[in-house]
Amino acid sequence: MWHIAKRELYDNLNSLRFALATVLLLALMLTNAVLYLREHPARAQAYHNAAADAVKTLKSRSTNLYSLATGGPGDLHKSPSPLRFCAEGDEAFLPTRASGANYGQRIANMPPVWRLFYPQETPNLRNIRPDFTTLDWAFIVGYVLSFVALLFTFDSISGELERGTLRLTLANPIPRHVVLVGKFLGAFISINIPFAVAVLMNLLLISTADTVQLNAEAWGRLGILYGIIILYTCLFIALGLLISAAVRESGVSLVVLLLIWVSFVIFIPNTLASIGSRTAVPIAYMEFWTQRMQLADEARAAYRNKYGDSQTTPSVHVLGEYVTTEAEEYERFNEAYLKQQIAQGKRARAITRISPTAIIQRLFESFAGTGFERHLQFIENVQRYAREYREFVVDTDRADPESLHVVGIQEGMSQKPVNPDAIPKFKDTLSLNRDFNTAAMDLLLLVLFLGVLASGAYLAFVRLEI
């Protein structure tokens, strides 16, 4: 078996495709590293500045509990992932922050209680550049490496069949599956050599730069990603062997492979996603906006009907209840809309799972900490923080015996200044555990894909007539 693998390897190493693949992969990986080193420090700096500003405004509110209860925690920023060179995850299209504030509109002549709001604007609106895919690892692996893998394998059986050398090999007393595994290993190693070199150069560049530091967890994640890349390469090699054995003619085998590749890489991830997203369409943004206005108006009208006409000001408790329920309802509405949008995004992504390229894209995003799943984690973090913040306000208020314990009303709350360090600060964290959980399904699918294709290749080769 090793003999066959070695022969394949020597064959490939001297070939044109090996040289071209090496050059291509090296160029891509180096660009990727240079770009990352240029962009990431600025991105991290911008995040730190924004987060520091947010903490500063939060501390400026700590003069009394009331301004904390109405002003809210302010902007909550999403921290950029240090592994963004692995998967861009189209971060440019995703919002970078959530916001907890009251937006200055007054209700019943007082500032309202803060509520969580999920801004929709993305950094991409003013961009008038031609559309393109950023050169991240996900692109290099998902598109280019799979393409290279097909080019290495499309003729590995049909080519030998055409030249007649396969008959010669099989005349020796070797079982067919050994030949197949030998070919598989040969192709695998010869694809992996240029890729590993390119990855090595990429990581060397990144790790020697002093502007970026990758911690142990990041290296662990990179290791996992490399494992996924190996799986993915195997998958395409198996696909190449399967078609090559099934079709018998090199030219035809390449055409079939390219068609499959085009639908895996371009058609399924994008077009099917658009079709899938139509099955769960949320209401239009404008509609959402008007509905929310109506909701607020209704609450206001209900309040006026109850208390507006009476000359005496309503008691603090009544006001407090009105203010808090208004904020709660508003936030619940925001959240419901966000959920609809997320559901649509999920639906669109679910249907793309029949393409291994889409799967690998999602896996990369999960482990690099970018993209959709990462954004969901960010939203979870924000919501957890919002709860903490509210609890903190209520608890601090409770601790003051002089307070009336009516949150959201100036007279009803503790008047003591708050220790600025005691206020909970927002921290956007990522857990590898959770990433694993979201990725488990995709990993399993990838392995299943590989199993099906590998056994397909085995069957096709064993039944092949020479």
Partner: protein, 508 residues
């Protein structure tokens, strides 16, 4: 003789598996994507119509003329030809405010009804993109063994024993392969046009078909270029397998890698950071305006001082209710707002003598604002171009080194979804702003009582000039597309000559 050759090549090509596969995959991709794009277009059109109606009503609810701030909103209609090449049609904002205190540009535009941000993760695939990827691949697959294959099989030698010029053979191969490649192109276009015409909301005008014709022509040039690239490789190599490998790598580099690589690399080039200095310059202009304004008010005993934060609003007019909405500054688009919209309710009888003074003041105030806007525009326009347009144009320029970039640019120009097409809309909006300002000057609205009070007569919005936008003429589209098409054509001619030279000199 030529006909015989063409017929032979045609039959050779038509009977192959790759031809069937080519037709099948192009049809599948084009039809599926047309359906998706059509739905998307309809959705955008509905949103547009709704937004236009809402803005129309919103404006009519304003009682004073000054209330038009933030209420006179123009929406950009979606381009029906965006189905062929989406270009910037969806990317750039489609809702823009018209107001005398700033000049509207594409960067001030926002999106009515923002899309679901989680769906932006998927690229929309337009018909041109399908052709760009799939047809080029097919052209190479048709070409790689055209010469190398015949040489290997020895049939080339046979053909050349006949008294035919070598150029004829090349020409016959070229014509027949192009005819074969035309089939999937035309059938898929036909199907997508049929789909478009069955849609009730989509209305294609006669000149739109001319533009589609231009897109077809460009597609032909593009496909032919890739076929010639394949033929060139085939003529240079002795073995089909080498030719195929080279073809595939060339395709991968030209279509897959180069555009993304070069656009990513443009980011590495440092951009001059003029934004802050220009913004400060603009700010200074407005501060000067503010001083003028204060000087005017200081000489006027009745009207109080006025400051930007709105502390001094009121002019000591008794019994007046003000509502006050400050606008946000936008350093990223170099906008510094001095103007704030406000609305005065009923004016009490005791302040009536002061009203002419206030009217006079607003006449001055608005005139000065408009003049300052013109002054800032002189700085703002080149700065915006340097910040936004130049990097984008650099990227586009570098893209032109790949045939895909040329093809994309030319078809964008035909469809009118390129930067120029979008700019057309925004320059129309700028002209419209000018028309509104002129109308206000003509009717002396800036210094009228209706500017700030609605107690004696309200604003008449129906007399306001109407906004209308028409996409540019086909001639202009053609003019914009022509340079790129000519480049494609030149590349074709050069490649054909090169192939001819190689083929004539080569030994069989």
């Amino acid at each position: 003789m030529l006909m015989t050759l063409i017929r032979r090549e045609l039959l050779d090509n038509l009977m192959t598996f790759r031809f069937a596969a080519a037709v099948f995959i192009t049809l599948l991709l084009v039809v599926a994507n047309t359906i998706v794009l059509l739905k998307d277009y309809e959705q955008r059109l509905t949103a547009y119509n709704k937004a236009v109606n809402e803005s129309h009503q919103e404006l009519r609810e304003e009682k004073t003329y000054s209330g038009y701030a933030g209420a006179l909103i123009i929406h950009r209609p979606p381009n029906p030809l965006s189905i062929f090449n989406l270009g910037l049609d969806k990317q750039v904002g489609n809702k823009i405010e018209v107001y005398h205190a700033f000049i509207p540009t594409m960067w001030d535009a926002e999106k009515h009804g923002a899309d679901n941000p989680f769906l932006n993760l998927f690229t929309s695939i337009d018909i041109v993109l399908v052709f760009q990827g799939v047809l080029s691949l097919l052209a190479l697959i048709f070409a790689y063994d055209a010469l190398a294959g015949e040489r290997e099989r020895g049939t080339l030698r046979l053909v050349l024993t006949h008294p035919i010029q070598r150029g004829y053979i090349l020409f016959a191969k070229y014509i027949s392969a192009m005819l074969c490649l035309l089939v999937p192109l035309l059938i898929s276009l036909l199907l997508s046009i049929i789909l478009l015409t069955t849609s009730t909301t989509m209305s294609l005008r006669a000149d739109d078909f001319l533009r589609i014709g231009g897109i077809v022509l460009t597609s032909l040039l593009y496909v032919s270029l890739f076929y010639l690239i394949g033929l060139c490789i085939s003529a240079m190599t002795r073995r089909t397998s080498t030719a195929l490998m080279l073809c595939m790598f060339v395709w991968g580099v030209l279509v897959l890698v180069y555009p993304n690589l070069i656009l990513t690399a443009v980011d590495i080039v440092p951009q001059p950071n003029t934004q802050i200095s220009v913004y400060n310059q603009i700010k200074q202009m407005w501060e000067e305006w503010d001083r003028e304004n204060k000087r005017f008010l200081r000489n006027d005993a009745v009207l109080g001082p006025l400051s930007r934060n709105g502390e001094g609003w009121g002019f000591r007019l008794k019994g007046v209710e003000y509502s006050f909405a400050p606008s946000e500054d936008k350093p990223s688009t170099l906008l510094y707002f001095y103007q704030t919209s406000f609305y005065a309710g009923k004016i009490g009888a005791e302040s009536e003598p002061q009203v002419p003074l206030v009217q006079d003041y607003y006449g001055f105030y608005n005139r000065e604002t408009i003049n300052t806007v013109q002054r800032t525009w002189l700085v703002r326009k080149p700065a915006l171009e340097a910040i936004y347009i130049q990097p984008a144009n650099l990227g586009r320029m570098l893209l032109r080194f790949s045939p895909g970039g040329l093809y994309d640019a030319a078809t964008e120009a035909w469809a009118g979804t390129d930067l120029d097409g979008i700019q057309d809309f925004f320059s129309t909006v700028q002209r419209y702003r000018r028309a509104v300002v002129d109308y206000f000057y003509d009717k002396k609205i800036f210094e009228s009582r209706q500017w700030f009070a609605a107690d004696k007569g309200t604003a008449d919005w129906d007399a306001l000039p109407q906004f209308s936008f028409h996409r540019s003429d086909t001639g202009i589209n053609a003019k914009r597309a022509l340079p790129d098409m000519l480049l494609l054509l030149t590349m074709n001619v050069i490649l054909f000559t090169v192939i001819m030279l190689i083929f004539i000199k080569s030994e069989v």
